[in-house]
Symmetry: C2
């Protein structure tokens, strides 16, 4: 997919703006596991995902992680350009969770474009609002939800993302997503297994009763 196909406000740019963006944007291919960004000091730029999957997460002082949200093809990553988004200065990290192709739009240039073009500024607004809502959902999960619900919701989301009921995920990796110690994850997964909701194997979790997991996630 070209930039023109991926960037929703493209049709509302002037030909000169389109040319400037095309000249400045760089297509970058990164293998799974690449740490793309580790805080506002990395003025990486706006990332438009062409293929693959990114994970945006926060990190505590003692190394615990919690996943904020995922970015899929067509998603625009704003936090990687926090250096030019006044107010958005908080520490997150971004990694490629699958082999990915990204259009990198330099931060200053995108900022200029936002200042010139109301459609670009409004599109950026919409993206920011969506991420804000993702984080609010997480806040509500953390504050109000029991761990069994959070884990059921996480497994269903992973299964939908991967398109399979057989997830290759260690208990430690699940703990990193949810900000929970591995032991807590293992205990709850064993309970899920005893209830016939999942089957566990080394480094793998297979969902065997998605309907009941869904009920649990919704309940």
């Amino acid at each position: 997919m070209t930039l023109a196909e991926l960037f929703p406000a493209w049709g509302k740019l002037t030909p000169a703006q389109q040319q400037a963006v095309t000249a400045a944007a760089a297509l970058r291919t990164v293998p799974k596991g690449t740490l793309l960004y580790s805080g506002p000091a990395d003025c990486l730029g706006f990332l438009l995902v062409r293929s693959g999957q990114l994970r945006v997460y926060i990190l505590s002082g003692d190394g615990r992680e919690v996943t904020l949200y995922r970015l899929l093809p067509r998603d625009l990553c704003l936090l990687s350009a926090a250096c030019v988004l006044r107010g958005l200065q908080f520490p997150v990290a971004i990694e490629a969770e699958k082999d990915s192709e990204l259009w990198v739009l330099p931060a200053r240039q995108y900022q200029q474009l936002m200042e010139q073009s109301a459609p670009v500024a409004n599109y950026t607004n919409e993206v920011l609002a969506t991420r804000f809502a993702d984080v609010m959902w997480l806040v509500e999960q953390i504050l109000w939800q029991r761990f069994d619900k959070r884990l059921a919701a996480f497994l269903l989301q992973e299964s939908a993302l991967e398109g399979t009921a057989a997830l290759r995920l260690t208990h430690e990796a699940i703990g990193r997503h949810l900000g929970s110690p591995r032991e807590v994850v293992t205990r709850m997964l064993r309970y899920f297994q005893a209830e016939g909701l999942v089957e566990l194997a080394h480094g793998a979790v297979t969902l065997t009763d998605t309907a009941r997991l869904q009920t649990m996630a919704d309940g």
Copy 2:
């Protein structure tokens, strides 16, 4: 203060846009305790705080509350216009925490203004980014901080907001801000009192050692 003085992008509006905003905006005076907004179904509009103080908070199914952030004079409230901000549809409530004066800008009209004016869209973006950062700070507090740190930080913040060390706050009210049961708040406040950090009276908490509270909040 007039709209022109309160709205940072005012000077970048055309005379016609300034006239349209002036005609559409309404000054509303609300007493302390007024519930202004209780979710996206209330399409209240954008609120520009002229005086007073608003509290934006979330509510669980069983009635627990957590304060997301406060809005002070000159602040623009966006969540009260979630109906026109695509992506920003999550349930929050907004109350006047002090007697307040608000300019209410109807949602659709502000949306039109954002679509026409890149400066307004960029200003809105900046406000949204700042609130997003406030919520991220809260996420980090909830996930990584111990309750003593959160309570110390909350008491110092309240004291700065009110301009006094003598806070009129019940333990229940503190619990509502922090999303914690009253008993947990009472227990920690008694510990603070025993340590000489605060003095407790009925419905009041007086900070007696702000330096050590600050060390605790930072530590």
